[in-house]
Symmetry: C2
Subunit: 414 residues, 2 copies
């Protein structure tokens, strides 16, 4: 073991870091991030590398019908349900080197560390790469774990299309990622996911890790603004019914609401589509959408109500019709109290500065927490920045998270 | 001749109207407009109908290499240069039944009227459908007449791509519209175009026709706003550098500038592209564009300067970088004074209420006016609305314009 190793129990910090950088170079962007949207050519390459490393580590591979890849380290009891470690290798467009990737590659390193230490476990350990967590190319996100759980039908997932009209099922075949393992899949004994925080708290407070207690209240907002088409170079300005102008008013109103409810809640308009999107045509149809998040359902309801009030004002002022809908409500999930306590205790034993905290956004762990005891471990990320080429954590921060993961999984699989 | 005919010289008002409605049904939209973007399947159908009607009228057809269709009524002097009547059958997405279409179909009716009346002309008369005037699918617009004039290279036009990446030259072949007549083509003796006004003046003043004196000063504006990517559900609101928020500020600022310079000038932001355009990602790149128009170059320069000032303010307030460019400057073209006077005199003879006025937007006639004496005739359009499914003029308004066109062309070709 080299000088880079954090504690004596087995994570090879340099190997984990090297793996993160190597994977990050696949679909690497000029800005230092990665672009591996689900079932793209780059995602295929990233998956091939994961399989290579898993085989190198002696793990047994299988792939299910939605492309989730399972790399299994057998246990001594062939009838025991596995302890699962998972996250995702797909990224935003562009995304960073850590979101999701850390959880998968730390899982591999946990298996290698156990093997290096000669540790046999009773239960098998399975490292999972879930298909399409990000939803960057195909909606909805958190897809592979939902199909595995049976909360999203395989047929529905396979029929999804990306903005270019390519069908998910066809892309799964084209990239060679359609396996034969059945879905829904059996729930594991327990599930562990290591992830960057995606917020600023751990870094600001100088902490090493967090055990996540709960998720936030979320929903998505959609507005369809109906204007009237006309010629931008000839129609009298007072007669214009420009849907894009009402969209602009909404974007600013939503941003102001987000600023006023932070940090417990957040919202920014982030998606716009505009028709006919030609310089000589007044936009007659503009669609906007956004994600609403708040630590508490009541706070989310307040954000929704304030957006509704702003939209009513904008409709009244512009005379344009705006159809507004909030849907895809997700209530907070509460993580397993015993695992949280176990993680906090382990961290203390290992000398890691730890706290408990909620997560604002969704992870595959939310899906799993409905099926089995689930632990979500956070490590710091620089400036709280994620979904960004600038996303970053240090080799030591990553390794400390992996050490805690190793310790918890070793106990769970013992 | 039936009761619908306006004056005795030969335009069949009901036939012209029937042709407009029949053509308008090709690519017809639920909202009462038409969608025949250049070299689409619908444009191919519209062109086939035009060829059918032209052959039915005894005209000789040829197509040039950019797909401009010429329907020729021979004159008695085989060496004489033709008098040309033209406009375009392609539409915005969606567009109306009159913009461009009226000019082409009135040209056909002029030829039929001369034949019905047994009139031979010395010069040939050619009715032209110019390819891609609208620029709705392939940029730039006013393309076919520019290639014919030699101001746009054929190779450059053929290489243009639409937003789906389809290449114009391939679409020209696919739709069977690539002819063998050479480009650039010879300038005609004179050029006449009949068009709806696309503004409210003729209707408001109760006039029948206008002779257009000049065009406006135009340019196009382009902004590239650089934000920073990040997670919409986790990045602290004060740290967000949301390019779409700055775009929204620009949209509102531009609309306010447009309102303050109307009616002599106009501007509205009408095109937006946003990356990565995903609900969980803060937009890191947003592009906006708009068309600037003013009757006078100095007024255009003032609009550009005010937009520059607003962008500087928004950059300063948001801390975001915005690259701003105004280009594609087009100076006013001055139409032929003799033809304007001739048109005014003819209108008076025919009892049509007429005035002279400028045009705000571009037409194929602007391109032709650099090559030969050119006349642009306007008829009223309801509410000044165009580039719209609601675009409208009446059968009588259309026929009066065609009568003036017939009278002017008959004299020019005599």
């Amino acid at each position: 073991m080299d000088a880079g190793q954090v504690v004596g129990t087995g994570i090879d910090q340099d190997r984990l870091w090297s793996d993160l950088m190597t994977m990050g170079a696949i679909g690497g962007t000029a800005g230092g991030g990665s672009m591996r949207p689900a079932l793209s050519d780059a995602d295929r390459e990233g998956r091939a590398l994961f399989r290579h490393w898993a085989q190198e580590a002696g793990l047994e591979l299988r792939t299910d019908r939605i492309g989730n890849i399972f790399a299994r380290r057998p246990g001594t009891d062939p009838t025991a349900k596995p302890v699962m470690i998972g996250s995702h290798l797909d990224t935003q467009m562009p995304g960073g080197k850590f979101d999701g990737v850390l959880g998968v590659l730390a899982g591999l390193e946990v298996c290698r560390a156990l093997t290096r230490a000669g540790v046999e476990t009773t239960r098998p350990i399975e490292v999972v790469n879930w298909t399409n967590e990000e939803g960057a190319r195909f909606q909805p996100g958190v897809m592979g774990s939902a199909v595995h759980a049976g909360t999203l039908a395989l047929e529905e997932a396979l029929a999804r299309t990306d903005p270019q009209g390519r069908v998910l099922g066809a892309e799964l075949e084209r990239t060679g990622q359609a396996g034969d393992a059945a879905v829904p899949g059996e729930a594991p004994e327990a599930y562990y996911e290591l992830h960057i925080e995606q917020g600023p708290e751990l870094e600001a407070e100088g902490l090493d890790v967090a055990m996540v207690t709960r998720s936030s209240a979320m929903c998505s907002g959609y507005a369809t603004i109906n204007g009237q088409n006309g010629h931008t170079q000839t129609l009298a300005m007072p007669l214009r019914r420009n849907a894009l102008v009402a969209a602009a008013q909404m974007i600013l109103a939503i941003e102001a609401i987000g600023a006023s409810v932070a940090p417990e809640g957040m919202v920014s308009a982030s998606v716009v589509e505009n028709w006919p999107n030609n310089r000589v045509n007044i936009p007659h149809l503009t669609k906007l959408s956004w994600a609403v998040v708040h630590q508490d359902p009541a706070g989310r309801e307040e954000i929704v109500a304030r957006i509704e009030a702003e939209v009513a004002r904008i409709m009244s002022e512009t005379g344009l019709d705006i159809a507004l809908e909030h849907k895809h409500y997700r209530e907070p999930c509460i993580f397993d109290a015993d695992l949280i306590a176990a993680g906090v205790a382990k961290a203390a034993e290992m000398g890691f500065a730890c706290k408990t905290m909620p997560t604002l956004t969704a992870h595959d762990a939310l899906t799993l927490s409905d099926r089995c005891p689930t632990a979500l471990i956070f490590v710091p990320c620089r400036g709280g920045v994620s979904h960004s080429e600038a996303e970053w954590c240090t080799a030591e921060q990553a390794a400390k998270g992996a050490e805690l993961l190793l310790a918890m999984v070793r106990d769970a699989a013992a």
